[in-house]
């Protein structure tokens, strides 16, 4: 049953370590490829950073965007604009009153390249050399603002910040803008561009990164017993959400419904998840309730699963707690095994994957799982993609962030 204010997904866009758009990214994910590579710079040696690899973007913005756009936008906004243009075009460039069009694009960290380049300029060359665009480029709402400008989105431009849950929270907020009647169409997603030596050194200092320098492609291995941390990724993903009524009126192609949004906070520890998983269970439970589906309907979960020992197992225990025996028929995918961790872009990219999975009835694989952790409590899609059942189905995309932010999105078939 579809009602007028139901939210549907009509456009997808991305630029990622696997490809410069959604088709190439999705094909690479189904083929089980890794986007992680050794960095072609001397940061590890020069700064004694213990990690010398990352999941860098596959297609450089310099190859896609005109030079003035490169100069006016931080890389985080460049990625977002590339993904937003693809999503908008994929949606058929809908005709919509700008007052009814929203833009919600999040980043976990913001314009870190611009911030640090500006600091270098000041120290080395003085204030007179500071570029006037520095502030509008480094502000964390910059990607949302550029997307709003590009498409004339006047219903609101927002940038919700919740670390690695930011991209999912943006999409949840976009859905709420439609459901509460503020907008008919919302361009929403997440982006991150933090492959700079300072953030990499900082993540390494928090002891959360994989140190598998001799095997970058094998480094992100959620649920494998030998996992040793996450792999920093970069890129953006954007979806076009639309009220079912608006999409139907223009005869739009609908990939799936964005049926439920569930939010919670752990209030437990600044970086570690609550080992009881209370916040995660609450977020997923609220999302299912919001979507009007039951555990029996859930056939697929795109896990947050970053390849850390504590995080991965807490999540599968939470899934088991919430779904009970119904977790036996869930196909779990940990796509960060291929993409690395896009931080503020992760929740958005994984929403794109979840939408594609429901639309094509195909769950993407988890790679690098040579020896599954015996404590893994949910059936894992390994190596090859797995078929999802026909009929009415629901899928969950989980995103959790430093700070205890939990976001669960439920996607159902159109």
């Amino acid at each position: 049953m579809t009602s007028a204010r139901d939210v549907v997904v009509t456009g997808l866009g991305a630029t990622t370590p696997l490809g410069g758009d959604v088709p190439s990214t999705w094909d690479a994910a189904l083929a089980g490829r890794s986007g992680a590579r050794t960095l072609d710079n001397d940061w590890a040696e020069r700064y004694e950073i213990p990690v010398n690899f990352a999941a860098t973007i596959k297609v450089k913005p310099e190859d896609v965007l005109p030079r003035p756009e490169i100069k006016r936008m931080d890389p985080s906004a460049q990625y977002a604009i590339i993904a937003a243009r693809e999503a908008w075009s994929d949606a058929g460039a809908p005709e919509v009153d700008g007052d009814r069009l929203g833009a919600v694009v999040s980043s976990g960290i913001g314009g870190v390249w611009t911030l640090l380049d500006g600091w270098d300029t000041l120290r080395e060359r003085g204030a007179r050399r500071m570029l006037p665009m520095t502030v509008p480029m480094l502000m964390p709402n910059s990607p949302a603002a550029f997307v709003s400008l590009e498409f004339g989105a006047r219903a609101g431009a927002h940038a919700l910040v919740s670390a690695c849950a930011s991209g999912a929270e943006a999409i949840g907020y976009g859905a709420d803008m439609i459901r509460t009647g503020r907008a008919d169409v919302v361009i929403c997603g997440g982006t991150e561009a933090t492959i700079h030596p300072m953030p990499i050194a900082a993540f390494a200092a928090s002891r959360t990164l994989s140190l598998r320098n001799d095997d970058p492609e094998g480094a992100s291995r959620p649920y494998d017993i030998d996992r040793d941390g996450f792999v920093v990724g970069e890129g953006a993903a954007v979806v076009v959400l639309e009220s079912a009524e608006h999409a139907a009126a223009r005869g739009a192609r609908v990939y799936a419904k964005l049926a439920g949004v569930g939010l919670s906070a752990d209030a437990y520890h600044i970086t570690s998840p609550d080992p009881e998983g209370r916040g995660q269970v609450a977020a997923m439970g609220r999302a299912l309730e919001d979507a009007g589906v039951t555990p029996a309907d859930v056939v697929h979960v795109n896990a947050h699963a970053t390849s850390t020992k504590v995080g991965d197992l807490t999540e599968t225990r939470s899934i088991r707690t919430l779904l009970g025996d119904d977790a036996d028929h869930v196909l779990l995918s940990a796509t960060k095994s291929m993409t690395g961790h896009l931080l503020g872009g992760a929740g958005a990219l994984e929403t794109v994957f979840t939408v594609k999975a429901v639309h094509e009835r195909l769950a993407p694989p988890t790679i690098n799982v040579a020896n599954p952790d015996p404590e893994l409590q949910v059936p894992l899609v390994r190596g090859e993609p797995a078929k999802l059942p026909g009929g009415d189905v629901a899928a969950i995309n989980n995103s959790f962030g430093f700070g205890g932010h939990n976001v669960a999105l439920v996607v159902t078939n159109a």
Partner: protein
């Protein structure tokens, strides 16, 4: 080290082209930064910052409003280098 006015024009055209995406030959002496080249105040200050760096001069903020055309800027930079 002083540049000729032609060298300054060419150098300035490169800066403007980089900032706006216009072809360098669109940046002619008689062109108005705002009316012809559609350059807003933030872009103008970016161009000024790059021009100071490139030509080794100081263009004070109170002077920028007097630089209506490309020719005005070229002449100011040439004078400042002299």
């Amino acid at each position: 080290m002083a540049n000729t006015e032609q060298e300054i024009l060419e150098g300035l055209a490169e800066i403007v082209a980089e900032e706006t995406g216009l072809p360098t030959d669109a940046v002619a002496l008689e062109k108005s930064f705002t009316d012809d080249l559609d350059i807003d105040s933030l872009s103008m200050m970016t161009i000024v910052t790059h021009a100071e760096d490139k030509f080794g001069v100081r263009i004070p903020d109170e002077e920028v409003k007097n630089l209506a055309t490309v020719g005005d800027a070229v002449r100011f930079i040439a004078g400042a280098q002299a």
